[in-house]
């Protein structure tokens, strides 16, 4: 990896926390295209979307249908053709010799590169080994001279590769495309993990999570950008779609790596060990676009209190289940007991009162 050029510009990144609908490939593509142009209008050089945004998450056995994978591939090409003046990272199921949970780097009207998720979770609500092959290579691309490493969801829960491999290969920013389902209080732990990962790797971390309900799952959003010292630079609100702009200073990362010898020692160790112990890092692309911020950081949304958080999860999950399935009204028996009272309350808040 080339050395950091001196006098490098700041990098303005857009965290596109969106609520896709599983299977609605044209609708999701439209939503993605809107956010790409919005991010470009706001001066971002890079816009990051959640994991499998184009198909929605989790697509489950839709992934077994050839026609589904073909439609995704066609939609991705169309999106790429429209992407100019900005680089977009879009999660999609990639159909190659096998199927991968992948992130496309869209730039200059084409798919400039593809990263494939390495760690496929198969516990709890996850069934990714049923559908996907694992990627074999960590991936870095360069944008305006800033090396950026790509990871997808579970990848960054691992303290080692691929994030570590990418950082030691020079990546100053680690992006993570996620579809991380909600559970009570989980977001706090997840943010702590991301802070730790930023400090581990002496790199800025940009984590973009999906938001909204999909059957039993509700995704809480809570996307964050964190600097190399573990400070939260920007945070999207929980349970709402949002596009948050955050400016990152790669010079800070370079400077930290001059002062903190952990990085130098680990690079040396990795070079000695490679290629046996570490997966290779693929240099994906060199890209240039206009865009850069002036002030480091972005908007930082507050986190909800426990009751507000659980309530928002239930309201969001119900709202999306009702609307995404084409219902307009709900009916329930109100007994005068506490359970049906709460259900009615949430339904009234989630939907129009008359519904």
């Amino acid at each position: 990896m080339a050395a950091m050029p001196m006098g490098q510009d700041l990098l303005k990144v857009a965290l596109a926390q969106i609520n896709p609908t599983v299977g609605d490939i044209p609708g999701n593509a439209r939503k993605i295209a809107e956010r790409i142009s919005q991010a470009r209008d706001e001066g971002a050089a890079l816009v990051v979307f959640p994991e499998l945004t184009l198909s929605g998450y989790p697509p489950e056995d839709l992934l077994l249908k050839t026609s589904f994978l073909e439609q995704v591939a066609a939609a991705l090409q169309e999106l790429a053709a429209q992407t100019r003046g900005i680089v977009a990272l879009v999660g999609f199921p990639e159909s190659a010799e096998d199927v991968y949970n992948a992130a496309a780097v869209l730039a200059d009207g084409e798919v400039a590169a593809v990263y494939r998720k390495m760690y496929l979770p198969n516990y709890g609500v996850f069934d990714e080994q049923r559908y996907f092959q694992s990627g074999a290579e960590a991936g870095v691309f360069e944008l305006n001279g800033v090396p950026i490493g790509i990871t997808i969801c579970e990848d960054i829960w691992e303290p080692g590769p691929p994030a570590m491999t990418e950082a030691l290969a020079g990546a100053q920013v680690i992006v993570n495309l996620s579809a991380s389902p909600y559970r009570v209080g989980y977001g706090h732990g997840r943010e702590r993990m991301l802070v730790q990962r930023a400090v581990d790797n002496l790199a800025a971390v940009v984590f973009v999570n999906t938001v909204g309900g999909q059957d039993e799952l509700v995704f809480d959003g809570h996307s964050v950008a964190i600097d190399q010292d573990g400070r939260v630079l920007a945070r999207c609100p929980q349970f709402e779609e949002s596009l948050v702009l955050c400016t990152i200073d790669p010079r800070e990362v370079a400077s930290a790596r001059l002062r903190d010898t952990r990085h130098r020692v680990n690079v040396r160790r990795q070079r000695r060990a490679a290629p046996v112990a570490e997966p290779p890092v693929v240099h994906l692309a060199d890209l240039q676009v206009d865009g850069g911020g002036k002030t480091v950081g972005g908007a930082v949304a507050d986190l909800l209190e426990p009751e507000a958080e659980v309530y928002a999860a239930l309201r969001t999950g119900l709202h999306d289940y009702v609307t995404k399935n084409g219902f307009e009204r709900v009916v329930l028996g109100i007994s005068g007991g506490i359970d049906s009272a709460l259900a009615a309350l949430i339904a009234a808040d989630a939907l129009a009162r008359s519904a």
């Binding site: 509700v218 109100i334 007994s335 259900a343």
Partner: protein, 239 residues
């Protein structure tokens, strides 16, 4: 959908909730349908005492009514049972479990109270009347019925369920946590026996570390008895 077992208090509260929330509200009494069922089943039930069969008919009449409204008008039926009830099977299949979406299926009873109190505070007034929060929980399927007749107090129940359902602990480990051994054994038995009901429950939103459904997969046909007999000796030793 009041029956002769519905109290005046719950009937008034149901109406008050609908008024406070500004939702459409209809009262559809089910006494006549209950009588029709009694007559329908009179020969078959001859010589038996009224029990859970008759109680569940009530719940299923209500299930039928909401499903009819759903079919006629295209409304989504919400099942309103909570995780504590669904865990121990304190719910009626095709009755209160009927519906398209079980909104609270991963919300323990203790959290149901917390959420209602919190939402009332947010609003600065009683969207849900205090009487709903104060009344002892009851399915109202017979006179003077209380949930506590069949179940341990909800704080004990929720603590047992959190350990058994969400943490996969066994009876001995739960008793070591200070939970009453008799309740632990009874609740575990109830949870295991209700697997067939949960498998037929509508989907609902996961908010816990382990929600029923794809998150927690246990066989319905299951003779593993780590839950009770084989632990008897260890439990006795603990006592």
């Amino acid at each position: 959908m009041p029956s002769p077992y519905s109290s005046d208090g719950t009937r008034a509260d149901a109406r008050a909730i609908a008024t406070n929330l500004g939702t459409d509200f209809r009262e559809i009494p089910i006494a006549e349908a209950m009588e029709a069922y009694t007559e329908l089943l009179a020969d078959s039930f001859a010589g038996t005492e009224p029990d859970i069969a008759e109680e569940n008919v009530q719940a299923r009449i209500r299930g039928n009514v909401v499903m009819a409204l759903s079919n006629k008008f295209g409304w989504l039926v919400l099942a309103t049972g909570n995780k504590s009830e669904l865990s121990v099977g304190y719910a009626t299949l095709y009755g209160d479990m009927a519906g398209g979406f079980a909104l609270l299926k991963d919300v323990f009873k203790g959290w149901v109270y917390r959420l209602v109190r919190w939402r009332n505070e947010q609003e600065g007034r009683e969207l849900i009347p205090a009487s709903v929060l104060e009344r002892p929980p009851s399915a109202e399927l017979r006179y003077e019925q209380r949930d506590q007749d069949s179940l341990p107090p909800y704080d004990v129940l929720d603590a047992i369920l959190a350990g058994y359902v969400e943490e996969d602990l066994d009876a001995v480990e739960l008793v070591r946590r200070g939970l009453p051994a008799e309740d632990v054994e009874r609740v575990i038995r109830m949870v295991d026996r209700a697997e067939y009901k949960r498998r037929q429950a509508p989907p609902g939103i996961k908010i816990s570390t382990k929600a029923f459904g794809r998150d927690r997969r246990l066989p319905i046909t299951n003779r593993f008895e780590g839950r009770a007999e084989s632990h008897q000796r260890r439990l006795r030793a603990l006592r």
